[in-house]
Amino acid sequence: MMADIPTRLPLRFLGRPGFTLPRLPWYVWAAFLWISLVLIVAIFAPLIAPHPYTGMKLTNRFLPPFTNWTHPLGTDELGRDVLSRLIVSVRISLLIAFGATVISAVLGTTLGFLAAHFRGWVEQVVLTLADFQAAMPFLILALSVLAFFGNSLPLLIGLMGLYGWERYARVARGLAISANTQGYATAVTQLGAEPQRIYLRHILPNIASTLIVSMTLVFPEVILVESGLSFLGLGVQPPMTSLGNMVGYGRDYITRAPWIMLSPAIVIVLTTLAVSMLGDWLRDRLDPTLG
């Protein structure tokens, strides 16, 4: 099974003469296709959505899915088009998940590098904070912050950006400490490079693959936490919509119109499934040491 997997990533095959599709396990292809589809939908959401996502039409309430072409996924309790709301929700949920993953990766990597560079008490503080973050259930911390500060989209993204930073910090610290003892880091230090240059131009590229794998492992969890918060009515607030938010409001009509909550639920499950399968596969390929 392992022998079937080519030694290069698919991107390297593009644009070459005699281009053939790389032989990957079918589920990796499926995950890759689904993620591409979701990304295209998220980027072009306003162009793709057939109706305005807040457009109500009370005469069209509770249209079941797959019955007419105007509303292929049916309509909700206010006669809004489920497909259009789904498309906009994908955009908002992915925006939050991407924003949060990037913030968390930058924050965690920076703290990890600081810990590796200064050692001593800086390192102890970073490690204690990391232990604290890992020990407390994130949902509880997030709910407390939301209780104290109220809610807004930037706050939500910033808050979600705290999710998982401790994992990048631990990985970055460990790898930077071992990189500092390796030849290339010593060489550029001898050449008189500033610490900033060493960490960003030399060590970072060398540990990037591990960090990227960590991102693919954190990303689906961010989607799940955000959709959980929004589902509880404490994340993204109406009139804005996100996948969890759609499931949360659709729950009230589960008996009469289950499709309102089923379509966003399916998108959440397929997306987290696809990203984590791709992440698992990448981890096996790039860095089997990550747990």
């Binding site: 204690t128 232990d131 604290f132 020990a135 407390m136 259930p137 949902l139 509880i140 911390l141 709910l143 407390s144 912050v145 939301l146 209780a147 104290f148 500060f149 109220g150 689906p220 799940l224 959709s227 959980g228 589902f231 509880l232 009515g233 404490l234 969890g244 499931v247 949360g248 729950r251 589960i254 008996t255 289950p258 909550m261 639920a265 959440i268 499950v269 987290t272 499934l273 984590s276 399968m277 698992d280």
Partner: protein, 309 residues
């Protein structure tokens, strides 16, 4: 050994202190408590009097120490909605939460650990693959979606079970299954990898080579070693007995601590949120401590004073 426990105990105290600090900082950052409680239209003299009576006119570090002292005395404030001590309100809800989370934990352990061990011992078989696929799905399906799908099938379509509320045992089945399945999948996956790692170690080969029956190798050498990482995860599960039910209690309208937290956050009842935050931290820290003590029992290397990994 004693030193090892002393360090752990110290870290536990530090973690609790950090949670208290977190609550204090977040509370003070969220705005002037005087305005928050009295409202913005109150005359400045009244605000001043309020600040004086609550010690809010003192330097921030004095306030911080007072805040710490109050928490140590068990004075955790009044619920702004019900005007009762927040601590009492939360403590009343704990039995309802444990009534769901303890059976769910039992379900996770009963399914997850044996499935993981069996999958590792029969690596590559159909059973192993089934466990792995279930584990991947168990991770990707969030509990609120699993809960709603179960409600759709067993309550709405088949009408076998109630869709929510508190009552007899039939009300507990769906919430317990919802929590149990996801946790069991994660536990199985973790146990499997812990077990696989141990099975690849040289001492397993040595034990087999010296002619020990395979069952004895597994029982005497593989299981105790695989238990060490697994106990950590189980400790985390025990620690989340209170916190783990937030979403599920909300879906099934179960009157436990989790639902109370969601309602308190929605209505910004800060005292209640703070009590639950501290309670969750205390449970987590206690269970982590128990895990550390168990390590000492499980891992003879620690008893001889070597440093834990």
């Amino acid at each position: 050994m004693l030193r090892y426990f002393a360090i752990r105990l110290f870290r536990a105290v530090i973690t609790i202190a950090m949670v208290v600090t977190f609550a204090f900082v977040v509370l003070r950052m969220s705005g002037d408590p005087a305005i928050l409680i009295m409202g913005p239209e109150v005359p400045p003299e009244a605000l001043e009097a309020f600040r004086k009576s609550w010690g809010l006119d003192q330097p921030i570090w004095v306030q911080y120490i007072n805040y710490f002292g109050a928490i140590l005395r068990g004075d955790l404030g009044m619920s702004m909605r019900d005007n009762r001590p927040a601590l009492d309100m939360v403590l009343e809800r704990i039995p309802a939460t444990l009534a769901l989370t303890i059976p769910a934990l039992a379900l996770k352990l009963a399914i997850g650990v044996p499935a993981g061990v069996w999958a590792a011992l029969h690596q590559g078989t159909g059973f192993d693959r089934a466990v792995m696929v279930t584990a991947v799905f168990g991770f990707a399906i969030p509990s609120f979606i699993l809960a709603l799908v179960l409600v759709l099938i067993f309550a709405v379509t088949l009408g076998w079970l109630p869709s929510g509320g508190q009552g007899g045992v039939e009300h507990m089945i769906l919430p317990v299954i919802t929590m149990g399945i996801g946790g069991a999948a994660a536990l199985a996956r973790f146990t499997r990898s812990a077990m696989l790692e141990v099975l690849g170690r040289p001492y397993i080969r040595t034990a087999s080579a010296k002619g020990l029956p395979w069952a004895s190798v597994v029982r005497g050498h593989a299981l105790p070693n695989a238990a060490i990482p697994t106990v950590t995860l189980i400790g985390f599960l025990v620690g989340s007995l209170i916190a783990g039910a937030v979403v599920v209690e909300s879906v099934f309208s179960w009157p436990g601590v989790g639902r109370m937290l969601v309602v308190a956050v929605g209505s910004r009842d800060l005292a209640v949120v703070q009590v639950i935050l501290l309670l969750v931290a205390a449970t987590m820290v206690t269970s982590n401590l128990i895990v550390d003590f168990l390590y000492g029992v499980l891992d003879p290397r620690l008893r001889q004073g070597a440093r834990a990994a």
